[in-house]
């Protein structure tokens, strides 16, 4: 009884997850008529026409590269700044260290989305709207608190003796950070990197607010544009979704564990 129930519920759930994915993947290569009439069948002819149109007419390569640039720089600098700060917080046993930690924790309590109005005006004043640098800065600021939280928890769990021995040997704090703390925390850094990458790659709100120039748009923004532009053609929208999701999907296929670790680490205090 239990076994049958379990098996059937698992099958139903797997179907509910996989069917929409199959419809999108096959749909990108079909005609719209085929999507409507035979959503579940394979395309009668595998057509790459939608993709050609996306790359030639809509120039999806530009937003793709913008997303790559913004995500890569955001993740790199967030990890760098967060790991330095987290190391410092976990080694500073003074009032200053406590205050720093409390200040960063404040960022966990205030949802970043409520800052959209002041950030918008600040960035317009600094001419950082319509700029990829601006997006990178926003991403760093928004994801620093949670990254510091995850990494400092990890640093605090590392055996203290290791740091003390290195200190005795005359190694300075920066060298201990670089040659002991960082190498030991590769799994935590990897999980945090994936977590940040997914956030930056998928974010809509801040680009929507800050970017209006076509040449500076990121993928989620142009997906919204295509939804209007190609509202009559789901096959085009599906093709765009495939292009926009491909890097994540490929990475997920090779690193499911890191994804699962990273995207649940944020939950500890999301």
């Amino acid at each position: 009884m239990y076994k049958a129930l379990r098996a059937s519920l698992l099958t139903v759930y797997a179907t509910i997850i996989l069917l929409p994915c199959m419809i999108v993947i096959t749909g990108a290569f079909k005609t719209d008529f085929e999507i409507y009439t035979k959503p579940l069948s394979l395309p009668a002819v595998w057509s790459f026409g939608n993709f050609r149109k996306l790359f030639v007419e809509s120039n999806i390569a530009t937003p793709f590269m913008n997303s790559v640039i913004v995500s890569a720089f955001s993740v790199f600098f967030t990890l760098l700044f967060a790991s330095l700060a987290a190391y410092s917080i976990s080694r500073l046993f003074t009032i200053t260290g406590r205050i720093l930690f409390l200040l960063f924790s404040l960022g966990l309590a205030i949802p970043g989305q409520v800052n959209i109005i002041p950030i918008f005006h600040l960035f317009v004043n600094l001419h950082l709207n319509n700029s990829l640098v601006g997006l990178v800065l926003v991403n760093i600021a928004l994801t620093l608190p949670i990254s510091i939280f995850i990494l400092s928890a990890f640093f605090r769990d590392l055996p203290k003796e290791m740091f003390e021995c290195a200190g005795m040997d005359g190694a300075g704090q920066f060298r201990i950070y670089r040659s002991i703390a960082l190498p030991l925390s590769k799994p935590a850094l990897g999980a945090t990197a994936i977590f940040l990458f997914v956030i930056c790659w998928n974010d809509l709100l801040y680009p929507l607010m800050l970017i209006t120039e076509t040449g500076k748009k990121t993928l989620p923004l142009v997906l919204i544009d295509y939804k209007g532009e190609y509202f009559a053609s789901y096959s085009m929208q599906f093709a765009a979704i495939l292009v926009a999701s491909l890097p994540m999907v490929v990475m997920y296929l090779f690193m499911q564990r890191t994804f699962q670790a990273g995207l649940t680490a944020g939950a500890v205090k999301g």
Partner: protein, 300 residues
């Protein structure tokens, strides 16, 4: 090493440590703390973003809390959206986590499948479900027609009374897998001996769940509920991609309304006031949840 020498070295180390925290602190203070504080100032102003802001004190907040029907509607929507998603997402995640507890090959594979939507962007998920819900061509309608219920198919995203729940269903599809993974990690910490002892006593599966799994999993449930709650308050991307808050504000939640107030209606001061209410609300709800679930935990 003599004591003064060690002292001066300690001081130097501390200074280096502070320097290491500086880049993060500089970015965070200027692009997070400062905006959060200036938000308080904006909230006391009437401002269209172009002309000089006019100081109006607490008028924004009082109007918001006492007379703004649209804001009340968005607040109500947000709370309903939260309740529905939290209840179903947590229940499904717990159920499927108990199914997938053992690290067998099939279970690990199924966890990977169920987790998959989490890596997609809200915009992609929104577009996929806009298609599924499409009244003429969508797969859900097609499915209902195939089993003879076609005439009952509602306008999933066009009918004011169900739009919000249609989006809630999408959100549950989107993030249940993530919560399953959190639950599996939590449930695997429960000592196996407890279940073995219960089995010896002849406890049924349901009794084991009620007596062992549920109370032992409460801390994990607290995490899942808190995270899901935050996600429902942040669901801007998904709602923007699916309905933009419509039809006639039926799927408007607080963040989408703040966005519209600021960037469509150009009322920046008023939008800031709304966002402050949002912060207070989120803080209050997470505090309430933590308190409730901790009390339960202690009373078990």
């Amino acid at each position: 090493m003599t004591s003064p020498a060690r002292n001066s070295r300690n001081k130097k180390e501390k200074r280096i440590l502070l320097w290491m925290a500086l880049p993060a602190f500089a970015v965070y203070a200027s692009l997070y703390l400062y905006p959060a504080l200036s938000n308080l100032l904006y909230a006391t102003q009437k401002w269209d973003g172009i002309t000089k802001p006019e100081f109006t004190g607490l008028r924004n907040i009082t109007y918001l809390l006492t007379q703004d029907d649209l804001f009340r509607k968005a607040l109500g929507n947000n709370l309903r959206f939260m309740l529905v998603v939290v209840i179903f997402q947590t229940a499904f995640a717990l159920l499927f986590a108990t199914f997938l507890l053992k690290n067998s090959k099939t279970n690990i594979f199924l966890r990977i499948v169920f987790f998959f939507p989490t890596i997609l962007s809200s915009v992609s998920v929104g577009i996929i479900w806009t298609f599924l819900y499409d009244p003429s061509y969508g797969s859900i309608t097609a499915f209902l027609k195939a089993i003879g219920l076609g005439s009952h198919a509602p306008l999933w995203l066009g009918n004011e009374s169900i739009t919000l729940y249609s989006i809630a269903l999408t959100q549950v599809w989107f993030h249940t897998g993530q919560m399953i993974v959190i639950y599996v990690a939590g449930l695997q910490q429960i000592p196996k001996e407890l279940y073995e002892a219960a089995e010896v006593d002849g406890a049924s599966r349901w009794q084991q769940f009620k007596g062992i799994t549920w109370p032992m999993a409460l801390p994990t449930t607290a995490v899942v509920v808190a995270y899901t709650t935050i996600q429902t308050f942040r669901a801007f991307d998904l709602i923007f991609a699916m309905t933009g808050g419509g039809p006639s504000y039926a799927s408007e939640i607080l963040v989408t309304q703040i966005y519209n107030t600021a960037f469509i209606s150009q009322k920046f001061g008023y939008a800031s006031a709304q966002s402050i209410v949002l912060v207070v609300l989120v803080l209050f709800i997470t505090w309430l949840q933590r308190k409730t679930l901790r009390v339960n935990d202690g009373a078990k």
